[in-house]
């Protein structure tokens, strides 16, 4: 993969859990380095879409998918795709902070250690630069040996972002990263996402429409497994093409 953040191309993606259709014939394109926000009511397939992109969806029971998803040259749905390589390239941050019950340092060093990096000097520098990128360094320097659980919820979420950045991904998947956070921490995460924009391709699931409007370049509206509309965020929020989108954005939906 080259140094530019990878483009995403999705063609006719369908995902089913047993008989239940989660995504149906979704196609979209995203230019590398942009922020894509996925919005839509609960159960519309946003999270499934995210979990397809790092194939975490494989963990679900009786899951079947078809179509084509290409991310910076990686054909994600290929049966031969190297999941370890894919997941190094595509980091993920979950809704609930999922910091491991280890120290702050060991959380961030977890990924690099998996890759066989042993030198404490290199680990230290990776941990430091990742924490700096995640705008957490100033708050935790000198406390790297403390348990991650001693951090606040917002700090833990930024720690999870630092942990994801430590394996040098090109893409970040964010599954409602601020849903469990207070407004101040939310602002910090949003600023962080904006600062990562350009270097990384970011795909964000959010229930917060203002958040989508504030920080995304492109917004995609899902409903019942279908991609209803995808458009540059400003267009989408000022002049949506579909009546359904407009209903959802103005809160008249459901």
């Amino acid at each position: 993969m080259d140094s530019k953040a990878p483009d995403l191309a999705v063609r006719h993606l369908s995902v089913r859990y047993g008989e239940q259709v989660a995504l149906s014939d979704v196609s979209l394109d995203l230019e590398g380095g942009q922020v894509l926000a996925l919005i839509g009511p609960s159960g519309c397939g946003k999270s499934t879409f995210l979990r397809v992109l790092n194939r975490l969806v494989d963990r679900s029971l009786e899951v079947r998918y078809e179509g084509e998803v290409v991310l910076g040259g990686i054909r994600i749905l290929d049966p031969d795709t190297d999941l370890v390589a894919l997941r190094r390239a595509v980091g993920m941050v979950f809704q609930q902070p999922s910091a491991f019950p280890f120290s702050v340092f060991d959380n961030v060093a977890y990924g690099p250690r998996l890759q066989g990096i042993r030198s404490s000097h290199r680990l230290r520098s990776i941990v430091e630069s990742s924490l700096k990128k995640a705008a957490l360094w100033d708050e935790v320097r000198g406390k790297l040996r403390r348990p991650a659980a001693s951090l606040s919820g917002g700090q833990q979420q930024r720690l999870c972002i630092a942990r994801a950045l430590a394996v040098a991904p090109r893409v970040l998947l964010l599954d409602e990263p601020t849903a469990a956070l207070d407004p101040l921490s939310t602002t910090k995460i949003e600023e962080l996402i904006l600062s990562l924009r350009g270097d990384y391709t970011l795909i964000l699931v959010t229930h917060n429409l203002q958040q989508a409007a504030r920080i995304s370049d492109v917004t995609a509206f899902f409903r019942q497994g279908l991609l209803v509309e995808i458009a540059p965020t400003r267009e989408m929020f000022t002049a949506p093409k579909c009546a359904e989108t407009e209903e959802f954005l103005t809160g008249r939906y459901e």
């Binding site: 790092n54 975490l56 963990r59 029971l61 370890v84 390589a85 894919l86 997941r87 190094r88 980091g91 993920m92 979950f94 609930q96 999922s98 491991f100 019950p101 977890y110 990924g111 250690r113 998996l114 890759q115 999870c160 942990r163 994801a164 394996v167």
Partner: protein, 288 residues
Amino acid sequence: MKPVTGRPRGDHLLYRVVWLGALLLLMLGFAIAAILVWGTVKFVIDHGLNPSLLGTIYQPTHDQFGLLPFIAGSLVVTMIAIVVALPLALSVAVTVIATLPRQMQMIRQILSGLVAIPSVVFGWWGLSLLVPSIRWISGRPGFSLLAGGLVLAIMILPTLSLLSINALDRVSVRWVEGSLALGATPDQTLGRLILSVSRIPLLEASILAVGRALGETMAVQMVIGGRVLLPHGLLSPGATLTTQLLTDISLLPPGIPGHYVLDFMALLLLVAMYGMVVLVERTRRWSL
């Protein structure tokens, strides 16, 4: 308005009854300990601080109270049991968690059923299968510390498996997915995350299992051979504190000189078991 204080009379009756029951149980526990301590005191009165206690010759009717063979026996069979059972139990737990999560409830039920098997059945199994096998392989009598340890291993395996499943099951899915999402292989996730996070609960489970093995009597008595000499190898017959206690209940009834050594042995076991309980409490505190 008059402030409401207290509760209507009689409202505490049930609590008092329950409290009495709890008190009774507590007193019973103390009574057992007190009786053993009293017996030990009597032993000291009868025989002084007998130096033979630390020896290897056990002839209680002749003032020789060497307990070392039994302490060694107890330690060795318990060690065999835990060393054999722990890896097997971990294998069961990892298999259930990683590859059979949907069958977990059923497997838990089966294991609980196995836990309920009386220990004498395990002893019988050891007697009819293990002892002849060891005899056939080694050419020795077959009744041995090894047989005792293996019977105990099989006996604690269901308990230890259940506790290990519970320990691994407590590892959050969020952590597991977080690890996988960082590019960890399933093996790396197991080793660096799941087992690492569960090590304190697993240690706790092992201590409980050791306690169970240390206290077991019947199953061991049936296969260990009951020899009172210091064993010189896993294949030699021996005895443990518990099995010797069982043997001597009929051989040293109250009134016979040396009877009180049994109180001392029982007290030793009690203290060891209590030590296990304290250890479990300690590990729990570490894990917080």
